[in-house]
């Protein structure tokens, strides 16, 4: 009865509520950009920008512009970035950079987690409402429960990081405060808003579970995500300003408004990359929670629940991961476009070796994600049809993985070079350059999508009359896309000029996306009203859960590693080309040192995550009332 009533309410008021939700979204977006417009004002940019050349450098005499018609009293004073010396950096006995590194990375890990989880929780909650299946709602609520402690931990590390930065890098932080001005207050205000939406969203879950109140609850989730995303893009603008400053002149004096400072050339590539990566990372971490709960219970009902939860987490993690390399390509392309020197520092110098380590970690993520899907096929009898494909997928994954990890230039001794006949291996050498890597990455993503598709199909039998045509078309798209990706990589990569080589990588990416989009469209249409085969949640080998543990470890390490690369490309600058770093740590740390630092931070993060899981489990544990002991025995 309740279900019928709900469906009726949904039908009657769905369009109104959707409109309401969209209106709220619009309000949210306006709210997000209001500070930007408020700061810009009508013609405000022109009023705020003083003539270039009228710059006051701290510690030096004021130099008026020679051609300025404005009097000194009327024109606003421009303040250049500080020029620091070694004595401007307090010495606390340990490396300031190491302290900030650990705090910043832990803050970023937890920040990524708590920004990502509400995003997919909102989608899962909406799916639950649309399908009327309350299991989705319960799962979404449980995901939120896990991440709740993470919000406090994020704030603690964020506060500690801010204190450490002000203590250890006072001039740099003074400059950043000067450049971003009132934006810091907006940022702080957003924390209050996010906390308000978070607590009302989480604690109001059961109070707003049905009817119109459910839409109020979903709106709170939307506002929570709006506040979270705005916080993320604001914080990203600080990082990208340090890499590619905008809105300032050559000595770092602010000549633009806050919007011009924020929207540097790397801002949007970083925004997109972090947005996608956060979702993948969040999915991987909550997947580990599901695996932990699955392994720690013998209750079949609970195992079925956590198996489903683990599957959903893996689905989120890998689905978000598929487009991530493309977002990474865009970021690197923009870095090269901004400064070729910076691009070469990242991918052609000492840091280039880290991209080989990156390949190992991405290979680990894809192998673990695929293995989990293959193991999960045992949940249904219908999967037997697709078992032969697993060998093919595994073969492609391993060959591509080995191609990706093949380095181009080896670190060799003189005798080794003599033995090899040169610095490059005569057969494996060509596999070390980008065309080979591009082929490998795209094929790995395509076969990972194939694993997903086969898994999704394993408990269904198509009933539409055109199923043979759909199948033939799907197979043909896979075959031709794979041939096209190899052709583009080999022909344009090795036999044409560099411009065509780079351009062909976009066509390769497009081929991969065509496969993914075609697969989703064809399967959605072909398996509509399909016959469903029984699926047994909980019927999965225990060893598959270890794949879910591997995912967050590899994701965390990978994020730490690439964060080190992103930060190091600034070399000896706090703010690239504008404010020099004159601290004792103004050099790119060695790979070995960085490896140790990243490992320490990863281990610390995983320990905190275990604490988070424990706290989440604790809330559902109720101690039995102790039996009263009386004289002569138990009462």
């Amino acid at each position: 009865m309740r279900s019928n009533r709900q469906q009726s309410i949904r039908r009657k008021g769905f369009s109104n509520r959707l409109g309401w939700l969209l209106s709220l979204l619009a309000v949210l977006l306006v709210f997000s950009v209001t500070p930007v417009f408020a700061d810009m004002g009508m013609g405000g940019a022109e009023q705020r920008i003083a003539p270039i050349g009228r710059v006051h450098i701290a510690g030096q005499d004021f130099v008026p512009a020679a051609d300025s018609a404005t009097s000194e009293a009327e024109a606003p004073e421009l303040i250049a970035a500080p020029r620091t010396s070694r004595k401007d950096y307090p010495n606390i006995g340990v490396s300031s950079r190491a302290v900030v590194w650990i705090l910043a990375q832990l803050h970023l890990f937890f920040g990524a987690l708590v920004l990502a989880v509400p995003l997919f929780v909102l989608v899962i909650e909406l799916v639950g409402l649309m399908t009327g299946d309350e299991r989705y709602d319960s799962m979404a609520h449980e995901f939120m429960k896990i991440s709740l402690t993470g919000f406090s931990i994020t704030a603690i590390f964020g506060g500690s990081l801010a204190l450490a930065l002000f203590l250890l890098y006072p001039d740099f932080m003074g400059y950043m405060m000067h450049v971003f001005g009132a934006q810091w207050l907006v940022y702080a205000g957003l924390f209050f808003l996010e906390s308000f939406f978070l607590y009302t969203y989480y604690y109001g879950w059961n109070a707003m579970r049905y009817g119109n109140l459910k839409w109020v609850h979903l709106s709170l989730g939307l506002l929570l995500n709006g506040a979270g995303m705005t916080i993320m893009v604001m914080a990203n603008s600080w990082a990208t300003f340090m890499m590619a400053p905008s809105g300032v002149n050559e000595v770092g004096a602010v000549i633009g408004n806050i919007w011009e400072v924020m929207k540097g050339p790397l801002w949007n590539p970083i925004n997109l990359h972090r947005f996608i990566a956060n979702i993948g990372f969040g999915g991987a971490v909550v997947g580990a929670y599901a695996a932990y709960k699955f392994l720690s219970t013998k209750d079949m009902e609970k195992r079925a629940h956590y198996d489903w939860m683990g599957y959903t987490s893996n689905f989120i993690a890998i689905l978000a991961f598929l487009p991530l390399p493309f977002a990474g390509y865009w970021l690197m392309a923009e870095i090269y476009a901004y400064s070729q020197q910076m691009g070469i520092t990242a991918m052609g110098g000492i840091l280039a070796w880290l991209f080989i380590v990156q390949a190992v970690l991405i290979g680990t993520i894809l192998l673990a994600g695929n293995y989990y899907l293959w193991a999960g096929m045992s949940r249904t009898e219908g999967s037997k049809r697709y078992k032969p494909f697993i060998g093919f997928i595994a073969f492609v994954l391993v060959v591509c993985f080995l191609t990706w990890v093949t380095p181009h230039t080896l670190m060799l001794s003189a005798s080794e070079i003599a033995q090899l006949g040169g610095s490059h291996h005569h057969i494996l050498g060509p596999l070390g350059i980008m065309p080979a890597k591009n082929i490998a990455v795209n094929l790995m993503l395509i076969v990972t999508f194939l694993s997903f598709q086969l898994y999704r199909r394993s408990d269904k039998v198509a009933t539409v009359s055109w199923a043979p045509i759909g199948n033939a078309l799907m197979v043909a798209i896979y075959v031709v896309a794979i041939v096209n990706i190899i052709f583009l990589g080999v022909y344009f990569g090795y036999f044409t000029n560099t411009v065509y080589k780079v351009g062909s990588s976009v066509a390769q990416v497009s081929s991969t996306l065509v496969v993914i989009i075609a697969g989703i469209v064809i399967d959605s249409l072909m398996f509509k009203n399909a016959k469903t085969l029984p699926s047994h949640w909980g019927r999965i080998p225990d060893r598959a859960q270890y794949a879910l543990f591997a995912l967050p470890i590899a994701f965390t390490w990978l994020m730490g590693l690439m964060g080190y690369v992103r930060s190091s490309v600034k070399t000896h600058w706090h703010v690239y080309t504008v404010m020099k770093d004159n601290s004792p740590d103004n050099f790119i740390p060695t790979i070995g040192y960085a490896g140790n630092m990243i490992t320490i931070v990863t281990v610390l993060f995983l320990l905190f995550v275990l604490f988070m899981f424990w706290v989440a489990s604790l809330s559902g544990t109720k101690q039995a009332k102790p039996e009263t002991v009386t004289e002569g025995g138990v009462a």
């Binding site: 043979p468 033939a472 078309l473 043909a476 031709v480 065509y500 062909s504 065509v514």
Partner: protein, 50 residues
């Protein structure tokens, strides 16, 4: 699978050849489109025209 059994062998062969042909044309067009959009035109045989 059961639907495929209802279709004759010859018809099935035609379906597969047609699917392959459509995909080949689609990806051939895609290569031209994407490279052209980047200002990198191709000849009919997919060699660089620039």
């Amino acid at each position: 699978m059961s639907e495929e059994n209802k279709i004759g062998g010859a018809a099935l062969l035609v379906i597969w050849i047609a699917a392959l042909a459509i995909s080949l044309v689609a990806f051939y067009g895609l290569d031209h489109l994407i490279m052209n959009m980047q200002g990198l035109p191709l000849n009919a045989d997919l060699t660089p025209a620039g």
